[in-house]
Symmetry: none
Subunit: 206 residues, 2 copies
DNA sequence: GGTTGTCAGGTGGCCTAGCCACTGACTATC
DNA sequence: GATAGTCAGTGGCTAGGCCACCTGACAACC
């Protein structure tokens, strides 16, 4: 099948919804008027009339602006322009983590570790056995941890772990760590969620 | 102006809009039904009728889910579940949390809770006694939790808790929760970090 | 004078009802 | 077989309305 004429193919023309253009328009309006944090936008009824749209559509545009952090809509009060937070806008993982001392990141990751271990202990029994059987188990943090992560799936905790791992390295290969890893693996293997979580506590911070 | 009674000051009680709860509800529904990328949600009219809300409100909930990247709404087609991909750009707290089903947020917050409880148990002994003495202790989740949070300080875990709390409410006031809260408070009071953390496990998810 | 209670006006939240625009599949037609 | 027309189902948007909420002013009370 020839698929090369993509160069001449028309793009699907991503139709923009009215309330989305409206949101952009209002955002421009905020800037043009020089409105700053705390200033109030005109009431919905008036704004809708001036813009020539229904109040429902305008309201959706405002809701969109709110989820983007540009304004704050309060029942009985109105739509308030929001001061762009530190580093302009919505906080990102990176910004938050970079601003914290590593000790805090370690504590946080430890908590995430415990949560993941707990989740892993609740995974399917045969899966746990296949991945963590005592024989052939490698006692490095990275290996054991990969197994636990695999068992725990890729939920929000996993995403957190990824983000945190970039700002705080795992432990080394000391005898104490090995002991902990064995205990962790055994607890997960047994399906003992509480024990698995407890084992993780203090694993990184010493 | 005296400003010290901040301890007794009530929180503004962030009211949740119907369409926001609805969005969370639908997100749960997607997960419960095991819908994956490309699957279609029921049409708006039917969904609205089943959920007992107006179509306008339901539509707003879907719009919210769309801006968060959980679904894609196409005119004339329907609402399609989106595969949770990297989805471009720097990940923000909001985007990451909103794109996840509430169950995952609960699990994550539980892990954070355990970490904070553990930290609180390591706080200064006199502080712990002052805040969590058995007499005069209020057994609501919010109150006990505020004390633990205060004891744990405002590190990265606290920031995480704030972010997560916005996307998954705490537990109610059942007898089982009260029992857990008592156990938690006692563990923190004793300075038993492991017990404090263990008590938190399963507190939110049941 | 300061405090407290009341109330009306303005605001957003949500609803009902409906029309319009878009999409996709089906069906004649050539 | 390919094409064009048709149609049912879908989301987009509008109009008008009621309700819950917040605020500020004002009156009543200490």
């Amino acid at each position: 099948m020839p698929d090369e004429p993509s160069a001449r193919r028309l793009t699907p023309l991503r139709r923009e919804r009215l309330y989305e253009s409206l949101a952009a328009h209002i955002s421009d309006f905020i800037e043009a008027q020089g409105l700053v944090g705390g200033d109030r936008l005109p009431p919905e009824r008036q704004l809708a009339a001036e813009l020539g749209v229904s109040r429902a559509t305008l309201s959706r545009a405002l809701a969109a602006l709110e989820t983007r952090g540009r304004i704050e809509v309060r029942h009985g009060v109105g739509a308030l322009v929001r001061e762009p937070g530190p580093a302009g806008g919505v906080p990102t993982w990176e910004a938050s983590l970079a601003a914290r001392p590593r000790s805090e990141v370690l504590v946080a990751r430890e908590a995430v570790l415990a949560g993941l271990a707990r989740t892993a202990a609740g995974a399917d029994s045969s899966l746990r056995t296949a991945m963590l059987a005592p024989d052939g188990r490698q006692r490095t943090f990275d290996h054991t941890w990969r197994c636990v992560r695999r068992l725990a799936g890729d939920g929000l905790l996993a995403e957190l772990d990824d983000a945190l791992a970039g700002h705080a390295p795992g432990p080394g290969d000391s005898a104490e760590v090995h002991q902990r890893l064995d205990a962790l693996a055994d607890a997960v293997l047994r399906g003992d969620a509480a024990a698995a979580a407890t084992t993780c506590q203090g694993m990184l911070g010493g």
